[in-house]
Amino acid sequence: MTKMIDVQNLHKSFGPNEVLKGITTSVSEKEVVCVIGPSGSGKSTFLRCLNVLEDITEGDVYIEGINLTDSTTNINELRTNVGMVFQHFNLFPHKTVLENIMMAPHIIRKTEKKEAQEKARQLLSKVGLSDKESVYPSSLSGGQKQRVAIARALAMNPKIMLFDEPTSALDPELVGDVLEVMKDLAKEGMTMVVVTHEMGFAKEVGDRVFFMDDGRIVEEGSPTDLFDHPKHERTQAFLSKVL
């Protein structure tokens, strides 16, 4: 198995506040990793470092062997290989659904408009929203927004997808559709890192689960191991509250 993501002794501080305190781990091709842990433990920060949305304070992160902290690395280029989906969707409100999806390929990759549109339509049908292509994001439900956001990230053909609590801003009955799309992606062999509170999803789809606390990966393992036989007492305490 190739290492898609390789993290070596990653530290991240906001001013005097050290939020990631040395993370070393890796994610293989086609692997689905779920990250769980209490609020403020650094899950989002960890994910954002993988995409250089946060500057890395110390340590190295390699994506497909390329070192992010290397000053010669073209970060914009690299980001096109890593799709990201946010808790609050962050769709572009001034663009239609179709435009949201085709914008990046068209402007960054200079893909022809027609071609970008066609690709965008394929992705929309994949997330089950073909009928919404010309509406604006404001008229979509939360679950629909998130599925468009996933389609938008996929439009650049990323090799890795990062998800930061993609369903936690959704009404419960809308969660299912989004998880469904994510499961399909996983089945197709996408390498995924998913911060989530959906233990069901983690059990069903996750190859590995990281439990983070206080800026460290305290424990990692297969979902069954970690959920049913947590070794670390902090993991146990957390799971007892959440499950």
């Binding site: 914009n76 572009f92 990046a104 960054i108």
Partner: protein
Amino acid sequence: MLESIQIAMPYLLEGLKYTLIITVVGISLGCVIGTIFGLMRTSKSKILYGIASIYIELVRGTPMLAQIFFLHFGLPQLLGINLDKMLTANIIIALNSGAYIAEIVRGGIESVDKGQMEAGRSLGFNSSQTMRYIIWPQALKLMIPPFGNQFVISLKDTSLLSAIAVGELMYQGRQVASSNVIYFDVYLIVCVMYLMITIPISLLLRRVERRLERS
């Protein structure tokens, strides 16, 4: 009153023309200045930020009337160059509206949800592409109401140019009022003429604002 209108109207209409010209020219220049300095105010570079801040503070910290006299009488005394009156008028409105528009631009950009920048960057847009295609169009929309407001303010500000005899509405009003000794009528008409421009704008703005809030 009817008689006053008859006497005053030709002058006041002539004045109104200048008022509108100066406002439009001044605020157009102000948009250019304001966009540049507003972007500088959101810049990470301390120098750019500093320069923009100094400009904005100086302009906003001094009365426009003092600026007018300084530019019209003060600077020529020192430098020996004289600016054309209309040029002074346009510079004054441009500099002042520019400083306020700079803050409107900064405010607009900062009001766009941070997530938009992150979404753009994470898709692979570089920072100027993100600004151009994602942040700016949204900021522009948020800037409409304060910009309309600034238009009204600049329009009113042109009245101060009467102090250096720029022939705009207020100047004409002062002249007609005093040369015909019809102060009440003329100043009332002058106020009504300003209101006839400012009220429709502010009603329009209220509607735009409400539309923006809903979306």
